[in-house]
Symmetry: C2
Subunit: 110 residues, 2 copies
């Protein structure tokens, strides 16, 4: 009855595991996956994300960046440059999303 593989087929009538539900929750917001994709292509600054995402309203982008920071996948850093500016960089947890984003890109192109 039980098919092997990371997503088990045995749990048909059981709730989704809490850790999976929490992880999915990070992605299930408008533009969240695209922001993470843009992070993985090298975007760190607000204007870079805006350029990469095109249609995103700035207020939504600001809100998502804050949520992704609180979720532990992005880290907000103030750069001592001229002028000083803020960057959003992937944490090690955020870096570990690369497999998922690679799978997304492969799916998009299949």
């Amino acid at each position: 009855m039980c098919r092997s593989g990371p997503v088990s087929r045995c749990k048909r009538h059981e709730p989704i595991p809490e850790d999976v539900r929490r992880a999915a929750d990070v992605l299930e917001r408008r533009y969240a996956v695209s922001i993470l994709y843009a992070s993985h292509t090298g975007c760190t600054r607000f204007t870079e994300f805006r350029r990469a995402l095109g249609t995103i309203p700035p207020a939504t982008l600001a809100q998502r960046l804050g949520e992704l920071e609180r979720a532990g996948v992005l880290r907000r850093e103030v750069r001592d440059a001229r002028p000083p500016h803020v960057e959003y960089v992937l944490t090690s947890e955020g870096e570990r999303l690369r497999g998922l984003l690679d799978a997304l890109a492969a799916w998009a192109r299949s």
Copy 2:
């Protein structure tokens, strides 16, 4: 400068590819990823999805199932049983999301 891998680092200042943006758009809705995860664990009926997702409002579940059907990842089928009932089954495109959901589960547990 260019790191290899499916998510290219070369495109820092370019828009996210349209196909990736469209694919991300399917996932970027509350509960969408969890519904797809539940599909991959064998859920097909409305009540099974509700049980798997726990907190989802029924109207939201109905809306998402319709959206995922229109996006081509689920197919709505009426079963000639007693009583007749509806099932939502993964299309071949939906089946190809397994890699992404496996990556999600791995990330959730890392």
